[in-house]
Symmetry: C2
Subunit: 199 residues, 2 copies
């Protein structure tokens, strides 16, 4: 009959990512994807192992895109500049691509996670912190703090958590970045550490 649609795993994953941005990642479905390519659902199984495989690949795509943006943001910047740019890249991506952002949180099995752009994102966070001259246990704590704050904020924001109350989310975001910058400069002593703070 008609010419073959020419499906490939890559095209499917890209379309799946767009679909996620439109209908939320959790509503991405093999059937809907097939519908978009005007193809029967079963046909996708030549290119994808199953639904979980599709979601995993969308997650990998999102993680890579996020790392690309973050990498571009921090290039040539340091200290507060780098922090702000990194944070903006992160938040902008989540706002522009909520479905992909949700995908980036899809739980990956350890092997897949290790091969993903996840570690690259972690290294970028460390690079941002380099300018603050933290010593080792503290730097890891700070990496986790930044991850928590950014993810938490963006997650609450996209869930509409701030949309119906007084100061716009934007202002809080700036305030938080100020606060984090100040915090990182003051290099707090870890709790539960035996070293005396004021000998």
């Amino acid at each position: 009959m008609a010419v073959r649609p020419g499906l490939t795993a890559e095209r499917l994953v890209r379309a799946g990512a767009e679909l996620a941005d439109e209908v939320r990642f959790e509503h991405v479905t093999v059937s809907e994807l097939a519908r978009r390519f005007d193809v029967k659902t079963a046909s996708l199984y030549s290119h994808l192992k199953n639904s979980h495989d599709l979601k995993t690949r969308i997650a990998l795509l999102a993680l890579a895109e996020l790392a690309d943006r973050a990498s571009e943001a921090v290039a040539g910047r340091a200290g507060r500049d780098a922090l702000t740019a990194f944070a903006a890249a992160y938040r902008t991506y989540a706002v522009e691509h909520p479905g992909r952002y949700a995908a980036a949180r899809f739980p990956l099995d350890p092997q897949t996670a290790a091969a993903s752009a996840g570690p690259r994102n972690a290294r970028l966070t460390r690079a941002v912190l380099r300018g603050y001259g933290l010593t080792e246990p503290a730097e890891t704590h700070a990496v986790r703090l930044l991850g928590s704050v950014f993810h938490g904020f963006v997650s609450l924001e996209t869930a509409g958590g701030f949309s119906h109350s007084a100061p716009p989310a934007e202002e809080t975001w700036d305030w938080i970045l100020d606060a984090l910058d100040a915090l990182l400069h003051s290099t707090p002593t870890p709790a539960g550490t035996t070293e005396a703070a004021t000998p």
Copy 2:
């Protein structure tokens, strides 16, 4: 045949919450719930409007439980004590009841959200901050910061984000609380505000 199981919406919701803690909130299903009560799936529809209704009610239960725990934690405490206890209540709940915690993040329509324990949680956060004497735009920013950090951290932790790297999550948690306490004491000036910091 046998005696009637005596289903009620409340029993179903409680069982649904337990189910969520076992199999993850997103895998809570009307069918599985029916199976647990040894009852046909269709029978649940006398007590629940639909699957979304079930999830909403589990979310409301979780929000209420969370507020109860938080409320107990902050009672009779102030300042750093209150902050630590509040944070611990939050994190403990998420670790002990991951499914319920995920449920508490289920998107509610505005009316339901307004009638939920969500606002009560927000008020409790404000109560914790009372001890730090923040002025108004800052207090709201701080409420959002705490929400972001706690949610972000717990969310990353339960996703296994910290489980395979060096310092235990516990230590980072304590470090973060130290940092937040210090931060709140230093009361940073909001960014983009026209008032001069040093006149």
